[in-house]
């Protein structure tokens, strides 16, 4: 439907070649069936063909008549108005028709185009002016923009700096607001600052003092130099007063002195070199284990030699026993005195320690008051305390070590004294050397004898054990021998019995022969019997087979077999049924209950009878 309208109402359709129309007009009926190229989507029955219309006569003149023909279109259009209501009015349709018709009219007017162009040119000029003014404005703005950009940069920098400051302030404020200890921190900082000021002051004073001291020292040096100068002057003066020989002597001595000074310097250098070499060699020695060992051995040797010398000295100065005792007692006394002194030292050290502890406590108290000033002192004291504690810790072990050593020495002295006194006592009752030698010989002889006697004792003990074991064996053997004897006796009796038979060996042989004959005869009989039985067996089995065959052939046997089978089946059923009945009978056995009931009723009857009899009475 829309296609139809488009085809009719567009201005282009009015400009169609006239040949198209006659073609369509010439069409009639079925031959005029629309083709797709001719807007053939239309159904043939959509509307009446234009050729059939009264207005479109066949003799219409060419193009001139086309307009009126096309003018006829509104009629055609009017014919389709009935369907307009079915369309969407907004998308296409009537509105459009009106504009198209208007356009068709203006196209034909030339002035319209001229006027239109003029208007357009004017509009373009106006537009160009507007744009040029805009460009100018833009350029101006651009210039001012550069300046503004610069100012923006400056301002942003300033803003950033201010923001940083603001952040700091904010942080400070936050801290002040949030943290309660901030005031304390500030106070601490102030205190620290004051402490630092004070320490600085002290340091400054110290520095001033040092400076003054330095000045004093410099002054002293200057004075000394002056004195030296005076002395030199005096010396020169005195030298000048000296005679020629002394002056020469002095010159010589001076030259020698200078030479000796140089020599000393040279020797000193040589000594230093040698010392370095020694050091080097010692290092090498330290690194070399064998040399080190050698060195230690040398040291030991030296010490031992020293000890040897001491001992030799002691032996050379051999004292008598009482003198020795006296000496040792002196030594003991000396060591005791040493111990006492050490103990007194310990007590003094302990006192000092206590004092120091007190001091430490005092210092700690003072430290609480003024931390910064006495921090260093406190550190020193702490260090001292540490040293003292270390000493105290080691004190006990050292003391015990010393005490142990002392005890050892005392013990040694005591043993030495004991041995000495023993020897002193035994000195008078000692035998002579010959006697001693004889006694030794006797002792060795006796020892040998003792060992030999011990060996013999052991040997004898061993032999005794052997004999005992043999005795046990012998005792056991008696029983065995008896058993064997009995066995042998029985054997003898048996053999004697047999001997009787063996004596009459001929009779034995005879009986054996007879027996053999009898056995052979029996064997023959039995073998014959066996044969006969075999034959009989064959006959009987043949008979059995024949009978079996007969039996099988017998009809009544077959019937009997069938009957037996059925009987077996019935019996089986019968057995099962009987079993079932028995089982059920046992289940439903009321005999016991019946007996109980009868007993109960009889009892009741007896009681009722007794009651009635009582009522009658």
């Amino acid at each position: 439907m829309s296609l139809q309208l488009d085809g009719c109402l567009t201005p282009l359709s009015a400009e169609r070649p006239p040949s198209a129309r006659p073609g369509s007009a010439a069409r009639n009926g079925p031959s005029g069936a629309p083709s797709p190229s001719q807007g053939g989507a239309r159904p043939p029955s959509g509307r009446p063909q234009s050729g059939m219309r009264p207005g479109s006569a066949a003799g219409r003149p060419g193009t001139g008549a086309q307009r009126p023909g096309s003018a006829m279109r509104p009629g055609t259009n009017g014919m389709n108005l009935g369907n307009v209501g079915n369309r969407n009015v907004l998308s296409q349709g009537l509105g459009r028709t009106a504009t198209k018709t208007g356009m068709a009219r203006t196209v034909t007017d030339r002035n319209y185009y001229v006027g239109e162009l003029r208007v357009r040119i004017g509009e373009l000029n106006g537009e160009i002016e507007k744009m040029s003014s805009e460009i100018e404005q833009f350029e101006r703005d651009n210039q001012s923009a550069i300046q503004l950009q610069k100012s923006i940069d400056d301002v942003t920098e300033e803003v950033e700096a201010l923001q940083g400051q603001l952040k700091d302030y904010n942080l400070l404020l936050d801290r002040l607001h949030t943290s309660t200890s901030s005031e304390l921190e500030v106070e601490q900082l102030r205190e620290q600052a004051n402490d630092l000021k004070k320490s600085n002051e002290v340091e400054r004073r110290k520095a001033d003092q040092i400076f003054t001291e330095r000045n004093a020292k410099e002054n002293q040096i200057a004075e000394i130099e002056e004195q030296v100068h005076h002395i030199q002057q005096d010396m020169e003066r005195q030298l000048g007063e000296l005679n020629q020989s002394d002056r020469e002597n002095y010159g010589h001595l001076k030259a020698e002195n200078s030479r000796l000074i140089t020599d000393i310097a040279e020797y000193q250098a040589g000594i230093d070199q040698v010392a370095e070499e020694i050091k080097k060699l010692q290092n090498e020695l330290r690194l070399d284990p064998s040399k080190q060992k050698n060195l230690t051995l040398h040291d030991e040797l030296r010490q031992l030699q020293k000890q040897k010398a001491e001992l030799e000295e002691e032996t050379s100065n051999k004292l008598s026993i009482p003198e020795e005792i006296e000496k040792l007692t002196h030594k003991v006394k000396a060591t005791n005195a040493e111990v006492q002194t050490i103990e007194s030292n310990i007590s003094t050290v302990l006192e000092a320690l206590n004092k120091l502890r007190e001091d430490i406590s005092n210092v700690e108290k003072n430290m609480a008051e003024s931390k910064s000033e006495r921090a260093e002192k406190f550190r020193d004291l702490v260090k001292k305390d540490k040293d003292m504690t270390e000493f105290m810790e080691q004190y006990e072990s050292e003391r015990s070590q010393l005490m142990e050593e002392n005890a050892k020495v005392e013990y040694l002295i005591q043993t030495a004294l004991e041995t000495a006194s023993k020897y002193v006592g035994a000195e008078h009752s000692l035998p002579s050397a010959d006697m001693v030698n004889q006694m030794r010989e006797d002792a060795t002889f006796k020892e040998d004898q003792l060992t030999s006697s011990q060996q013999t004792a052991e040997r004898l003990k061993h032999e005794l054990d052997q004999r005992r074991s043999e005795l046990d064996k012998m005792a056991n053997l008696d029983g065995k021998i008896e058993e064997e004897m009995q066995g042998l006796k029985a054997k003898i009796a048996k053999m004697k019995e047999e001997l009787v038979n063996f004596n009459s060996i001929d009779t034995v042989k005879e009986s054996f022969e007879n027996n053999k004959k009898l056995q052979n005869q029996e064997k023959q009989v039995l073998s014959k019997r066996k044969e006969l039985i075999g034959q009989q067996n064959q006959v009987l089995s043949a008979n059995n087979d024949a009978k079996e065959r007969l039996l099988r052939e017998n009809e009544s046997h077959g019937q009997i077999e069938i009957l037996e089978k059925s009987l077996r089946h019935y019996e089986q059923n019968n057995f099962h049924i009987k079993e079932y009945i028995l089982a059920k009978g046992k289940e439903g056995d009321y005999k016991t209950i019946r007996d109980e009931v009868i007993k109960l009723t009889s009892d009741m009857n007896v009681q009722v009878n007794a009651g009635f009899s009582r009522m009658k009475l």
Partner: protein, 187 residues
């Protein structure tokens, strides 16, 4: 090692468990016939019993006879030639016990010189259904000079004992006879 052969007849009312007893004895407790199958006339089984202390074996030829009256005429033929017998009754069946005496008499009527016999009360496992007390069985056995046993073929209890006793009895009888023959020979 001696081997003695003994024909043994097993008698008793039908369905008292004769075949089951023999089967259990033969299979040494391995095979028990679960379903009842009636024995027709007679069935033959053999089983050897060893008597170790005497170094002797007794081979039993067991005649399993039907308890039905149908085979009365045939039974006589089978019983002839047997040396020993067993009469079985059902301890849960009073009737079977009553008939046991009849069976003993029947055997003795046929075999006058039997070596010995035994009376066995079967189905001792059915304790709640027992109708024949042990004492009655013992009394009956004593009356007829028989050994008495109670067994359960189903459970396999005391199945071999009667056969062992019969084997010993047979051996003793044999030895007695041998001694008798020996004495006769000497005389």
């Amino acid at each position: 090692m001696r081997l003695l052969r003994c024909r043994l007849a097993v008698l008793g009312e039908s369905a008292v468990g004769k075949t089951a007893l023999i089967q259990m004895f033969k299979s040494e407790g391995a095979h028990y016939p679960k379903n009842y199958i009636m024995t027709l006339a007679a069935e033959f089984h053999s089983k050897t019993v060893q008597i170790r202390e005497k170094d002797t074996s007794v081979e039993f030829y067991v005649m399993d006879l039907s308890g039905k009256g149908l085979y009365d005429s045939l039974r006589r033929q089978v019983l002839e030639g047997t040396s020993m017998f067993i009469v079985v009754y059902d301890v849960t069946n009073e009737e079977s016990f009553k008939m046991a005496e009849k069976w003993i008499d029947e055997y003795n009527a046929v075999v006058s010189n039997s070596v010995g016999g035994a009376l066995i009360g079967n189905k001792s496992d059915l304790e709640e259904r027992i109708e024949v007390k042990t004492q009655r069985g013992q009394d009956l056995a004593r009356e007829h000079n028989l050994a008495f046993f109670e067994c359960s073929a189903l459970r396999g209890t005391e199945v071999e004992t009667p056969f062992n006793w019969l084997a010993n009895a047979f051996l003793n009888a044999y030895e007695d006879k041998m001694k008798l023959y020996a004495s006769l020979d000497k005389s």
